[in-house]
Amino acid sequence: MDGIKDKVAIIGMGCSKFGENWEKSADDMIIDAAYEAYADAGIESKDIGAAWLGTYVTEQTGQMLSRALKLDYIPVTRVENACATGSDALRNACYAVASGACDIALAVGVEKLKDSGYTGLPDFELLRRQSNTYRTRTYSPPGHFAMMATKYFDRYGLSPEEGKKVIGQIAVKNHHNGALSPKAHFQSETTLEKVLAAPMVAWPLGLFDCCGVSDGAAAAIVTRAELAKKFRPDPIYIKALQIAVGPYEGYMSPKFDWSHVEETVRAGERAYAEAGVKNPRQEISMAEVHDCFTITELVIMEDLKFSERGKAPDDVRSGFFNLDGGLPVNTDGGLKCFGHPIGASGLRMMYEVYKQLQQKADKRQIKNPRLGLTHNLGGTPATCSVSVIIAGNELG
């Protein structure tokens, strides 16, 4: 099994403005993201051989993509993988070109959440699992992830106050990065004092520990690696595409410790093997990870082996994941500030990795990036789908 490494390149990407896009429909945002990607790749809609639409709750069928973009009777498929939907759309498009089924494929992720009337997420099956029978959950996504915070703090001897200071620093960092991202939902700096004083959402998580609920779309155009330079001098090569989907073990087995996410560990290990990464802390230049909540980002740092077990708080305190740190994480503000339109998030992460690897990230640009990673988590710490994708700006 030789994997996907260096077989596929991204030659164009686009991303709509994220936020409360009252004036934009899902179709509008799809068009914004796709046409930016077309222009970036230097292609036209008729050049696309197949397309994948990632959306979690906005529409049931992928036909909306063809409708919005007026695609030329090409194959279009809607994919879904909870909050990792966007990454799975990209994965399908990559496999399509790698197989030779077509030369150019389009992946689009979109979500229109703010038509719901709710401040939080709309109702969906993932959260109220088996909602048509007994066992329905009456609690929200923050409620699930807060359980991980409670347990992580307890396990590593942090008082709730100490723990909240650590995860609060993650919010401060992501706000700083978001303030440098013109397309982010939230573009303002914040302070640890403000973070700690914010109202409680799900104890121990406060308002600033939670990501934005946003509208948005993002798009990628991929081709086989050997064709990539026909389109642009600086294509970005896919090094690993991995998804791990949990069997619900965390909700059923006391073996799950509620202070890591097994799906991240599994997807990460497989992605490192596929990409040939031996020491992620050293070799990964930057990462866009699924900080749906600040505690999630903290635990991801350990699950992806950026930090040793129990040591992520030290790395957070020392600024290791800051824009100017040893391994910058969520350089565009992450879900926390860029926002989280579910189906679009995975592709938005890759949009930032792509820009960073092309040295086009403006004020957020990090020095000499070589390998970037996206981590996209759909579900809860106890059971979820996790995608880990690694991309690089050189072959080999």
Binding site: S116, D123, T133, T138, M200, A202
Partner: protein, 471 residues
């Protein structure tokens, strides 16, 4: 010999102080009333009483469930059948609901005694529960409390025999609630007291004693329904009873617990009874049912683990009257800006009755791992369709982790979310109830309780919740 084989009371954890009601409406008020939690109804309370009653009662199987209440959650749909399913009883169990008056509990008791004496049933669990509402600022609101009790009726291992039964019917509009009303109403107080309970109970008790050739002096304890302490004393006086022989009905601690009241008081009397003690049990409600009982030699051999003293001393105060109004849905609040609860499918519920109602999971025959809910492929060893039934409801458990979710849908926010680990294996993630958020700690002992999870689509959906174990 036919009689009571085991017994238990159940009172909800919450109390509302009458002074707090008086804060809202003025006036005075002593003591507290027991208040069902926002997720408790008469079925949930009856289940709690039944589980306590059947604990350690390792006697022959229960083949009848008679449920009595004036406040069953349904007008059409049987509560006893739900309770039988929760208790994992055989489908051949004889289930019946008794309703219509506060005498429905003793109607059920009499039917149970007749059934066991005739040999048509072996052991009948008689359950009484009430959760009556008085209108705000009315006497009923202050007086009524919520509670339940269970009596297991049989002829094997009897703790107290029932020696005689006497019944009177009486047509009077004194205390009533029509099919169009949520609240209980009463006619003018003096008429109700003097011509209702105050006339019928003494008359029925006197006749019952005569018929069973007992003098009041022969009786160690009188357990009699009364709407309040004063009326109990009035009736005792008219019967010329020694006040020491009148069983307290816990008006000060729990309030008038309706159908359950005489059974809760009887449970208290049985806890104290000595072999040979004669007792009189008298209910009231459009007539009266009177029973005479004798404590059997085995009276001391079984007592509920949670006796009345447990319920008197284990409680949480509802901080405000407004919260009480919210729990009983007397006031309607602005709905939260989150997605509403989805309607369950009765088809899916029916398929899932075993795991949903009696908290049954499975245990893998190959690797021995307990799992909830039922699985077909083992989470641990992957073997297929090789499981035995496994009950989680009675296993000791601890809290693995938790959060307090302010966005959760609850009448008692925040929703406390719990991952519960069971001794012997298995984990269930569920809501916590009957808790003070400040007391919740990782590792604390947990007990599982049967509660209402949601009311959507015109029917109630129950499930189990975790609560801190308080012993």
């Amino acid at each position: 010999m036919t009689g009571i084989v085991s017994y238990a009371a159940y009172l909800p954890l919450y109390r509302l102080s009458r002074a707090e009601i008086a804060r809202a409406w003025g006036g005075g008020g002593k003591g507290e009333k027991a208040v069902a939690s926002h997720d408790e109804d008469t079925i949930a309370m009856a289940v709690a009483a039944a589980r306590e009653c059947l604990k350690g009662a390792s006697k022959s199987p229960v083949d009848g469930i008679f449920f009595a209440s004036t406040t069953s959650p349904y007008r059409e749909k049987q509560a006893a059948a739900t309770i039988a399913a929760v208790l994992a009883l055989s489908p051949e169990t004889c289930t019946a609901d008794f309703a219509g008056s506060l005498r429905s509990g003793t109607n059920a008791l009499r039917a149970a005694l007749d059934a066991v004496k005739s040999g048509s049933l072996k052991q009948v669990l008689v359950l009484a529960a009430d959760c009556r509402l008085g209108m705000p600022n009315g006497a009923g609101e202050t007086a009524f409390g919520d509670g339940a009790a269970a009596l297991l009726i049989g002829s094997d291992g009897v703790l107290a025999s029932v020696d005689s039964m006497y019944t009177m019917a009486d047509e009077i509009i004194d205390v009533f609630r029509s099919d169009r009303d949520r609240f209980v109403h009463a006619w003018e107080t003096r008429f109700v007291r003097d011509y209702g309970q105050g006339r019928i109970v003494p008359m029925a008790v006197t006749t019952a004693l005569q018929k069973s050739k007992l003098a009041a002096a022969d009786v160690a304890k009188f357990v009699m329904y009364a709407p309040d302490q004063r009326q109990l004393q009035t009736v005792a006086k008219s019967l010329k009873l020694d006040p020491a022989k009148v069983q307290d009905s816990f008006f000060n601690e729990f309030g008038d617990t309706g159908t359950a009241q005489v059974f809760i008081a009887l449970a208290a009397a049985l806890e104290q009874a000595k072999a040979g003690d004669k007792m009189v049990l008298a209910s009231y409600g459009n007539g009266a049912d009177v029973f005479t009982l004798t404590a059997a030699p085995g009276i001391a051999s079984w007592k509920p683990v949670r006796g009345l003293q447990y319920y008197v001393s284990t409680k949480l105060l509802i901080p405000t009257y407004e919260k009480y109004l919210r729990w009983r849905q007397i006031i309607e609040l602005e709905p939260p800006a989150t997605a509403p609860m989805e309607q369950p499918s009765p088809v899916a519920l029916w398929r899932d009755n075993k795991s949903g109602l009696d908290l049954h999971g499975v245990k893998c025959r190959k690797c021995g791992t307990p799992q909830y809910p039922e699985q077909r492929v083992c989470m641990e060893c992957g073997s297929k369709d090789d499981f035995e039934d496994y009950s989680f409801s009675d296993k000791p458990a601890v809290l693995a982790t938790f959060s307090h979710d302010s966005l959760g849908i609850s009448m008692d926010p925040p929703t406390t979310v719990a991952a519960v680990d069971f001794q012997g294996g298995g984990r269930i993630t569920c809501d916590m109830t009957d808790r003070d958020p400040a007391e919740i700690k990782i590792g604390m002992p947990i007990e599982m309780v049967f509660r209402v999870l949601r009311y959507v689509g015109g029917f109630y959906t129950y499930w189990w919740k975790a609560r801190p174990k308080r012993d």
